[in-house]
Symmetry: C2
Subunit: 108 residues, 2 copies
DNA sequence: ACATCGCGTAAGTAGTGACTTACGGTAAGT
DNA sequence: ACTTACCGTAAGTCACTACTTACGCGATGT
Protein backbone atom coordinates (compact mmCIF):
# COMPACT_ATOMS: atom_id res chain seq x y z
CA UNK A 1 0.00 0.00 0.00
CA UNK A 2 3.05 2.23 0.18
CA UNK A 3 2.96 2.79 -3.56
CA UNK A 4 -0.40 4.50 -3.19
CA UNK A 5 0.92 7.46 -1.25
CA UNK A 6 3.94 7.59 -3.55
CA UNK A 7 1.70 7.83 -6.61
CA UNK A 8 -0.47 10.57 -5.15
CA UNK A 9 2.66 12.39 -4.09
CA UNK A 10 4.16 12.31 -7.57
CA UNK A 11 0.89 13.21 -9.25
CA UNK A 12 1.20 16.93 -8.62
CA UNK A 13 3.36 18.65 -11.27
CA UNK A 14 5.14 21.12 -9.01
CA UNK A 15 5.75 18.45 -6.39
CA UNK A 16 7.17 16.23 -9.09
CA UNK A 17 9.38 19.12 -10.11
CA UNK A 18 10.61 19.40 -6.54
CA UNK A 19 11.36 15.71 -6.54
CA UNK A 20 13.17 15.90 -9.86
CA UNK A 21 15.36 18.68 -8.57
CA UNK A 22 16.76 16.29 -6.01
CA UNK A 23 17.91 13.91 -8.71
CA UNK A 24 21.16 15.85 -9.13
CA UNK A 25 21.89 15.40 -5.41
CA UNK A 26 20.96 16.64 -1.91
CA UNK A 27 19.66 20.21 -1.72
CA UNK A 28 18.43 22.62 0.92
CA UNK A 29 14.87 23.91 0.85
CA UNK A 30 15.87 27.39 -0.24
CA UNK A 31 17.96 26.01 -3.06
CA UNK A 32 15.05 23.93 -4.26
CA UNK A 33 12.61 26.82 -4.10
CA UNK A 34 14.98 29.17 -5.95
CA UNK A 35 13.63 29.76 -9.44
CA UNK A 36 10.38 27.97 -8.75
CA UNK A 37 7.01 29.54 -9.61
CA UNK A 38 5.76 28.91 -6.06
CA UNK A 39 6.76 30.24 -2.67
CA UNK A 40 9.21 28.58 -0.28
CA UNK A 41 6.52 27.48 2.22
CA UNK A 42 4.78 25.72 -0.65
CA UNK A 43 7.98 23.79 -1.33
CA UNK A 44 8.16 22.89 2.35
CA UNK A 45 4.66 21.47 2.22
CA UNK A 46 5.50 19.47 -0.87
CA UNK A 47 8.60 18.07 0.80
CA UNK A 48 6.49 17.05 3.76
CA UNK A 49 4.21 15.04 1.49
CA UNK A 50 7.16 13.48 -0.33
CA UNK A 51 8.73 12.52 2.98
CA UNK A 52 5.56 10.89 4.24
CA UNK A 53 5.47 8.89 1.01
CA UNK A 54 8.99 7.62 1.62
CA UNK A 55 10.33 9.36 -1.46
CA UNK A 56 12.70 11.78 0.31
CA UNK A 57 14.47 12.16 3.64
CA UNK A 58 16.10 15.12 5.29
CA UNK A 59 19.25 15.88 7.19
CA UNK A 60 19.81 18.79 9.54
CA UNK A 61 22.79 20.91 8.58
CA UNK A 62 23.05 23.90 10.85
CA UNK A 63 20.15 26.21 10.25
CA UNK A 64 19.22 24.62 6.99
CA UNK A 65 17.56 21.35 6.08
CA UNK A 66 19.00 19.27 3.31
CA UNK A 67 16.65 16.90 1.49
CA UNK A 68 17.64 13.95 -0.65
CA UNK A 69 15.88 11.12 -2.44
CA UNK A 70 15.00 8.04 -0.41
CA UNK A 71 15.08 4.85 -2.52
CA UNK A 72 12.42 3.24 -0.38
CA UNK A 73 9.38 4.86 -1.98
CA UNK A 74 10.94 4.58 -5.40
CA UNK A 75 11.52 0.88 -4.86
CA UNK A 76 7.92 0.30 -3.79
CA UNK A 77 6.75 1.96 -6.99
CA UNK A 78 9.06 -0.10 -9.15
CA UNK A 79 7.92 -3.31 -7.49
CA UNK A 80 4.30 -2.44 -8.08
CA UNK A 81 4.88 -1.57 -11.71
CA UNK A 82 6.78 -4.78 -12.33
CA UNK A 83 3.73 -6.71 -11.19
CA UNK A 84 1.96 -5.41 -14.28
CA UNK A 85 4.71 -5.21 -16.80
CA UNK A 86 5.23 -8.81 -17.89
CA UNK A 87 1.58 -9.71 -17.60
CA UNK A 88 0.40 -6.63 -19.46
CA UNK A 89 2.91 -7.07 -22.23
CA UNK A 90 1.89 -10.67 -22.85
CA UNK A 91 -1.80 -9.82 -22.78
CA UNK A 92 -1.24 -6.95 -25.18
CA UNK A 93 0.59 -9.09 -27.70
CA UNK A 94 -2.16 -11.69 -27.52
CA UNK A 95 -4.63 -8.89 -28.20
CA UNK A 96 -2.68 -7.79 -31.26
CA UNK A 97 -2.80 -11.31 -32.67
CA UNK A 98 -6.53 -11.50 -32.01
CA UNK A 99 -6.90 -8.20 -33.85
CA UNK A 100 -4.94 -9.51 -36.83
CA UNK A 101 -7.17 -12.58 -37.07
CA UNK A 102 -10.31 -10.46 -37.02
CA UNK A 103 -9.06 -8.35 -39.87
CA UNK A 104 -8.68 -11.47 -41.94
CA UNK A 105 -12.30 -12.42 -41.23
CA UNK A 106 -13.53 -9.02 -42.30
CA UNK A 107 -12.11 -9.36 -45.81
CA UNK A 108 -14.74 -9.26 -48.56
CA UNK B 1 6.02 14.18 -20.45
CA UNK B 2 3.77 11.15 -20.94
CA UNK B 3 4.61 9.86 -17.49
CA UNK B 4 2.96 12.94 -15.99
CA UNK B 5 -0.53 12.06 -17.13
CA UNK B 6 0.09 8.43 -16.18
CA UNK B 7 1.03 9.43 -12.65
CA UNK B 8 -2.00 11.67 -12.17
CA UNK B 9 -4.16 8.91 -13.59
CA UNK B 10 -2.88 6.31 -11.16
CA UNK B 11 -3.01 8.68 -8.21
CA UNK B 12 -6.72 8.21 -7.58
CA UNK B 13 -7.43 5.09 -5.49
CA UNK B 14 -10.60 3.97 -7.25
CA UNK B 15 -9.07 4.59 -10.65
CA UNK B 16 -6.07 2.56 -9.59
CA UNK B 17 -8.47 -0.15 -8.51
CA UNK B 18 -10.05 -0.09 -11.96
CA UNK B 19 -6.63 -0.41 -13.50
CA UNK B 20 -5.68 -3.27 -11.21
CA UNK B 21 -8.81 -5.15 -12.18
CA UNK B 22 -7.53 -5.30 -15.73
CA UNK B 23 -4.39 -7.07 -14.62
CA UNK B 24 -6.13 -10.44 -14.78
CA UNK B 25 -7.07 -9.78 -18.41
CA UNK B 26 -9.44 -7.80 -20.68
CA UNK B 27 -12.80 -6.91 -19.16
CA UNK B 28 -15.99 -5.10 -20.17
CA UNK B 29 -17.05 -1.93 -18.38
CA UNK B 30 -19.95 -3.60 -16.60
CA UNK B 31 -17.70 -6.40 -15.38
CA UNK B 32 -15.25 -3.88 -14.00
CA UNK B 33 -17.91 -1.86 -12.26
CA UNK B 34 -19.53 -4.95 -10.72
CA UNK B 35 -18.81 -4.97 -7.00
CA UNK B 36 -17.25 -1.53 -7.03
CA UNK B 37 -18.31 1.13 -4.52
CA UNK B 38 -18.94 3.62 -7.34
CA UNK B 39 -21.43 3.75 -10.19
CA UNK B 40 -20.82 2.49 -13.71
CA UNK B 41 -20.60 5.97 -15.26
CA UNK B 42 -17.87 6.76 -12.76
CA UNK B 43 -15.94 3.75 -14.00
CA UNK B 44 -16.41 4.95 -17.57
CA UNK B 45 -14.92 8.31 -16.67
CA UNK B 46 -11.99 6.65 -14.99
CA UNK B 47 -11.38 4.50 -18.04
CA UNK B 48 -11.42 7.61 -20.19
CA UNK B 49 -8.65 9.14 -18.09
CA UNK B 50 -6.64 5.92 -18.12
CA UNK B 51 -6.98 5.72 -21.88
CA UNK B 52 -5.80 9.28 -22.39
CA UNK B 53 -2.79 8.44 -20.23
CA UNK B 54 -1.93 5.50 -22.48
CA UNK B 55 -2.50 3.00 -19.71
CA UNK B 56 -5.46 1.16 -21.26
CA UNK B 57 -7.06 0.64 -24.67
CA UNK B 58 -10.45 -0.61 -25.67
CA UNK B 59 -11.96 -2.95 -28.20
CA UNK B 60 -15.53 -2.97 -29.43
CA UNK B 61 -17.26 -6.30 -28.95
CA UNK B 62 -20.87 -6.05 -29.97
CA UNK B 63 -22.71 -3.80 -27.59
CA UNK B 64 -20.03 -3.94 -24.97
CA UNK B 65 -16.61 -2.34 -24.72
CA UNK B 66 -13.71 -4.44 -23.58
CA UNK B 67 -10.78 -2.64 -21.97
CA UNK B 68 -7.29 -4.00 -21.48
CA UNK B 69 -3.96 -2.70 -20.27
CA UNK B 70 -1.77 -0.85 -22.75
CA UNK B 71 1.95 -1.34 -22.03
CA UNK B 72 2.78 2.07 -23.50
CA UNK B 73 1.92 4.17 -20.45
CA UNK B 74 3.36 1.55 -18.15
CA UNK B 75 6.60 1.61 -20.10
CA UNK B 76 6.87 5.38 -19.91
CA UNK B 77 6.48 5.21 -16.16
CA UNK B 78 9.12 2.51 -15.82
CA UNK B 79 11.55 4.49 -17.94
CA UNK B 80 11.04 7.57 -15.83
CA UNK B 81 11.52 5.66 -12.59
CA UNK B 82 14.67 4.01 -13.84
CA UNK B 83 16.15 7.44 -14.41
CA UNK B 84 16.07 7.94 -10.66
CA UNK B 85 16.71 4.47 -9.37
CA UNK B 86 20.44 3.97 -9.88
CA UNK B 87 21.29 7.58 -9.17
CA UNK B 88 19.12 7.73 -6.06
CA UNK B 89 20.46 4.46 -4.70
CA UNK B 90 24.08 5.56 -5.05
CA UNK B 91 23.37 8.95 -3.50
CA UNK B 92 21.54 7.31 -0.62
CA UNK B 93 24.40 4.95 0.18
CA UNK B 94 26.83 7.85 0.09
CA UNK B 95 24.55 9.64 2.52
CA UNK B 96 24.57 6.66 4.88
CA UNK B 97 28.35 6.65 4.91
CA UNK B 98 28.42 10.37 5.59
CA UNK B 99 26.03 9.77 8.47
CA UNK B 100 28.26 7.05 9.91
CA UNK B 101 31.27 9.35 9.84
CA UNK B 102 29.40 12.08 11.66
CA UNK B 103 28.41 9.72 14.42
CA UNK B 104 32.08 8.95 14.99
CA UNK B 105 32.82 12.67 15.34
CA UNK B 106 30.08 13.09 17.88
CA UNK B 107 31.66 10.63 20.31
CA UNK B 108 32.65 12.13 23.66
C1' DA C 1 22.32 40.26 23.86
C1' DC C 2 20.60 41.17 19.43
C1' DA C 3 19.87 40.70 14.57
C1' DT C 4 19.58 37.64 10.72
C1' DC C 5 19.06 33.55 8.19
C1' DG C 6 16.62 29.30 7.08
C1' DC C 7 12.87 26.72 7.75
C1' DG C 8 8.23 24.64 9.38
C1' DT C 9 3.45 25.45 10.55
C1' DA C 10 -1.30 27.80 10.84
C1' DA C 11 -5.15 29.71 8.73
C1' DG C 12 -7.73 30.98 4.97
C1' DT C 13 -8.95 30.85 -0.08
C1' DA C 14 -9.59 29.49 -4.94
C1' DG C 15 -9.59 25.90 -8.12
C1' DT C 16 -9.69 21.20 -9.48
C1' DG C 17 -11.69 16.72 -9.76
C1' DA C 18 -14.39 12.62 -8.38
C1' DC C 19 -18.98 11.42 -7.85
C1' DT C 20 -24.06 11.39 -8.64
C1' DT C 21 -28.41 11.24 -11.63
C1' DA C 22 -30.34 11.87 -16.13
C1' DC C 23 -30.13 11.26 -20.82
C1' DG C 24 -29.02 9.57 -25.64
C1' DG C 25 -27.22 6.36 -28.83
C1' DT C 26 -25.85 1.84 -30.82
C1' DA C 27 -26.10 -3.21 -31.15
C1' DA C 28 -28.43 -7.57 -30.34
C1' DG C 29 -32.72 -10.39 -29.37
C1' DT C 30 -37.75 -11.40 -30.00
C1' DA D 1 -40.49 -2.59 -35.28
C1' DC D 2 -39.93 -2.82 -30.24
C1' DT D 3 -37.59 -3.86 -26.37
C1' DT D 4 -33.52 -4.75 -23.82
C1' DA D 5 -28.65 -4.58 -22.76
C1' DC D 6 -24.43 -1.94 -22.53
C1' DC D 7 -22.14 2.08 -22.60
C1' DG D 8 -20.57 7.21 -23.08
C1' DT D 9 -21.62 12.00 -22.06
C1' DA D 10 -23.79 16.26 -19.75
C1' DA D 11 -24.71 18.89 -15.87
C1' DG D 12 -24.39 19.79 -11.21
C1' DT D 13 -22.52 19.22 -6.42
C1' DC D 14 -19.22 18.45 -2.72
C1' DA D 15 -14.76 17.52 -0.89
C1' DC D 16 -10.03 17.91 -1.30
C1' DT D 17 -5.76 20.19 -2.11
C1' DA D 18 -2.30 23.37 -3.67
C1' DC D 19 -1.30 27.96 -2.83
C1' DT D 20 -0.81 32.39 -0.34
C1' DT D 21 0.50 35.44 3.75
C1' DA D 22 1.57 35.64 8.57
C1' DC D 23 3.85 33.86 12.31
C1' DG D 24 7.17 31.37 15.43
C1' DC D 25 11.27 28.76 16.49
C1' DG D 26 16.12 27.26 16.44
C1' DA D 27 20.85 28.12 14.80
C1' DT D 28 24.53 31.24 13.31
C1' DG D 29 27.06 35.61 13.30
C1' DT D 30 28.44 40.18 15.27
Amino acid sequence: MAYGTALTALADPTRRRVFERLRSGPKAVGAIARGMPVSRPAVSQHLKVLKKAGLVTDRQEGTRRVYYIDPQGLGALRAWLDQFWDQALAAFQAEMERRANNEKDEEI
